[in-house]
Amino acid sequence: MGSLKPVQETDGGSFLATRIDELVNWGRKNSLWPMPLGLSCCGIELMAMIGPKFDISRFGAEAARFSPRQCDLLVVAGTLTWKMATAARLIYDQMPEPKWVIAMGVCSSSGGMYDSYAVVQGVDSILPVDVYVPGCPPRPDAVIDAILKLQKKIEREHPLARLLGGTTLADERGSGQLTHQPNGAVPKTKFDLHPHDPRARR
């Protein structure tokens, strides 16, 4: 629970003291709403992860919605083709901020075995990816691990500073710089910068 600590007990009851950042992050990381973009066999493992045996609701991320407007976690599960890339990017654009992306499986991480004209060689060339999950397909527990890693990453964000730092909506729309190279590094975007970093301001 981070630094959510009970401070003082009075006769009226108890209260907690924390930083707003921590409170917001605590709320966000424990109620991720995944948008399942099941493109191939990884989608089946994703369903298994949401189902009762692996039960992602233990980590608060079971509310999968099929409308991007209601989601904040895009799980790209499977082989993304260039023909589908426009649709995937549109889904990402339709998700409200803040939003995160998991590239599930080798196909979405790097193109995998599809070293081909039809397949996007890593979805990081069109989307800002937060966590990569290896495996073909990855086991559901590997994806749960990715969600836990994402929760750790959310803990380190500074939502209040971002708000007060005067970032505009255009700043918050996700990756502005796209890499073209197959297997290229994740682009450094305004979204990734600390809001006090002058490069993050417009």
Binding site: W82, K83, R89, S116
Partner: protein, 174 residues
């Protein structure tokens, strides 16, 4: 049900249409035709030899091996006689192939895929457009001179992305 009977029935149906028998390594009864006779041959085989179903319509690219460059391959199945027949038609790059869609509506998809992958135009096909690749994609991926990693596979996405950004964030237009 042997090949000899199949060929005999098929050749009887073809009558005076010009064709030749081919020896195929896999043992399937095979006839070689030309683009001029293919249309009539398909109709004759359907109506008179009982081949009700086209199971496969595809092409082979013989780039650098021989001229004309392509072979269009039709494989037909007769459910009544339980046998199959293959038709091989050499086609040059700029030549048109007669369609089979007026005989078998199901051939439309296979001919569209063939057009998409090899760039062969089927004469008389009502909706000949690409099946798998985006419509604006300028190349035909199963041709032998197409590199397997593709030619500008991301071009259409990039164009779309540039347009989208210019529309949504005009202040960032470069």
């Amino acid at each position: 049900m042997g090949n000899a009977q199949t060929l005999e029935r098929a050749r009887a149906a073809l009558g005076t249409l010009e064709h030749s028998v081919r020896d195929e390594r896999d043992g399937l009864a095979t006839l070689a035709l030309s683009t001029a006779t293919l249309g009539q041959a398909l109709e004759a085989l359907k109506t008179r030899a009982g081949f009700e179903t086209p199971t496969l319509i595809t092409a082979i690219d013989w780039l650098g091996t021989r001229e004309p460059r392509f072979d269009v391959v039709h494989q037909l199945l007769s459910l009544a006689h339980n046998d199959r027949l293959r038709l091989v038609t050499p086609v040059a790059e700029d030549q048109r192939v007669p369609t089979a869609t007026h005989l078998w509506p199901g051939a439309a998809y296979m001919e569209r895929e063939c057009y998409d992958m090899f760039g062969l135009v089927f004469e008389g096909h009502a909706g000949l457009k690409r099946l798998l690749m985006p419509e604006e994609y300028g190349w035909h991926p199963l041709r032998k001179d197409f590199p397997h990693q593709g030619i500008e596979p991301d071009r259409i996405y990039r164009e779309w992305d540039r347009k989208r950004r210019a529309e949504w964030h005009p202040e960032e237009a470069r």
